[in-house]
Symmetry: C2
Subunit: 355 residues, 2 copies
């Protein structure tokens, strides 16, 4: 497909109205694009900055079709948009990144199968459908290992650690019957992620890998540069490029990797802008959100070089109340009404001259 350049003034449809949609809309505005957000929940925070909002369910085909007809291109801010909704809108307007990336990313088993088929290293894994298959999987993979639902898990939800075979029954019970995957435990030195983009012309660019620290299963900080060898950083970027090319991807992707003594292991990827790429707002002239907008609009990708080192810290729940005092950092407040515990309310990026 020849890739049309959408001029400033074009309409971007965003499926999902959370903070990622909000920051996409803000970046789109800088390029003169107009955004229409589609979101089932009431008062999505992206609606404060988008020109237009449709509040409807993902199975409301009429609403989806009207939404699609009002825009020039469609993207999504989270990977759990039902494929049926994607199919409904894709008949009317191009969806970028496409269905294929979503299909893989929505299902941990399909994702791992895809990564292995692409020649990439993953944790050992096995499909789990019931207590018996969990037993078999444990026999092959051993403990410690992690049982995860195949679908709809994020930020550590839908996961249970199995430290010893005796934990298996409780772990399976906590999956509530959902098809799952058992993953072998990876003894990693650190976790890094690569935020990369692929344009409509197939060009690939990547931001420097960041090093992630989680707390209670939720990203806490991303530090750039990651404390890794230059060759490891290069390998990480090449892996992201392989994934982008294999998916014939258009847009920004977030690829999480484990750094182990024997090399890089792909943890997972998210077919969207990524929390571990928020540092690019403060440390790069063109950030991950603009890069995504450029890609899906057929613009040439921007230079993702960073001018500074950076540490991004998520602000969860009441931590957002400290945002007002962050005078020597770039603070970003998502505009969500209630600072519930553990809820991502904002983030703050500190920068320093490149080391």
């Amino acid at each position: 497909m020849a890739f049309e350049v959408l001029p400033s003034g074009s309409r971007i449809g965003i499926l999902g109205g959370g903070q990622l949609g909000r920051m996409l809309a803000l970046a789109a505005a800088r390029l003169g694009m107009r955004c229409h957000v589609f979101e089932p929940a009431a008062d999505p925070c992206a609606c404060q900055v988008a020109e237009r909002v449709t509040r409807a369910a993902y199975d409301d085909v009429a609403a989806l079709r009207a939404f699609a007809a009002s825009v020039d291109v469609i993207t999504y801010e989270f990977e759990n948009v039902p494929l049926a909704a994607i199919d409904a809108v894709a008949e009317i307007a191009p969806v970028r990144p496409g269905r294929r990336a979503l299909e893989s990313a929505q299902d941990r088993l399909a994702e791992k199968d895809f990564l292995r088929a692409t020649g990439l290293e993953t944790a050992p894994y096995a499909s789990v459908r019931n207590a018996d298959t969990l037993h078999e999987a444990l026999a092959g993979i051993g403990t410690p290992s992690i049982l995860k639902t195949r679908r709809l898990g994020y930020d550590g939800k839908g996961q249970a650690r199995i430290m010893a075979p005796g934990d298996a029954a409780a772990a399976w019970a906590s999956m509530a019957g959902a098809p799952s995957v058992l993953e072998g435990f990876i003894d990693f030195e650190r976790e890094i992620s690569v935020i990369a983009a692929r344009g409509g012309d197939g060009a690939v660019v990547a931001f420097d890998p960041g090093e992630n620290v989680h707390r209670d299963g939720i990203l806490h900080t991303t530090t750039i540069p990651a404390a890794i060898k230059a060759s490891t950083a290069q390998d990480a970027v090449l892996i992201a490029g392989q994934i982008l090319n294999a998916l014939d991807y258009v847009g920004v992707i977030g690829v999480e990797l484990f750094v182990t003594r024997s090399g890089l292991v792909v943890n997972e990827f998210a077919p969207r802008v990524h929390n571990s790429g928020h540092w690019t707002q403060g440390a790069c002239l063109i950030d991950q959100f603009e890069q995504h907008v450029r890609a899906i609009c057929g613009w040439p990708l921007g230079d993702g070089a960073r001018h500074s080192d950076a540490v991004m810290t998520n602000l969860l729940g009441d931590e957002i109340l400290g945002a007002v005092d962050a005078t020597s950092a770039a603070v970003h407040v998502y505009g969500k009404p209630e600072p519930r515990p553990g809820r991502k309310m904002g983030h703050v990026t500190r920068i320093a001259p490149r080391g």
Copy 2:
């Protein structure tokens, strides 16, 4: 007045819906603020990114009062908002910066009188009300000089150069009877500007002075750092601080200065974010728009240090069509519908490591 800190989620009213209002709204969104734009013209470009828009005339008191009642604080994006409109809204919500700055900035004569009363250097000037007073003024100030309308001039409009006494009649005719000011010509080496901010607590911070080049009376480029001595930069910042303090100002101000062999001469100031401060978006962690929002919301001012050198170039008219190719620069497109010749359509900022 004790200065309340407006929490994220507060409502900011912006009088004026052009590109400055648009970029204020985008910066406000980063801090979780919600914006309501008041603009008489149809389809203002700020409306694409603001939560709410009122389209009404500046003499529509009912609309002004309803607007004011819907917000927690009011600011303006241009200095020619009628004072009567300011007075109407100020009864209901605080207006920052206040009336005093507007009064001075709306009238070149009042502005020059204020600057002189503050002990600052200006061009020689004299009030001109008719051909006779122009004759007297020319006798005192001489040629070359510039006749300017006292009100509503911007980007070189409402100005006529008088190179020799014989030009006086035509110059006065071009003022169309408007009260004017004759200004003596300043033999300057370069023009610089300081973007500074004063918080509700009286704290003052300034961005590094930039050097401005105009084309046809419209800002073309701002380059940071300006090619001036450190002591000159310091003097420029101190002058901006004097103006802010004298006006008991809250918010961001743009002060234009001439660098002459005998020191700095104040050209004019704009009581708002300023075109020559757009470079701060690309080269500072906290830009002029966020600094303004911080000030008017009672937040502590941010660190205005720049991480990079920068050159900002305005994109006028059809020049905006090149924005798509600016892949190694930060491009900002204002979302205006028609690229009329000379119309400010966007800008682009290139950065480089600090020299």
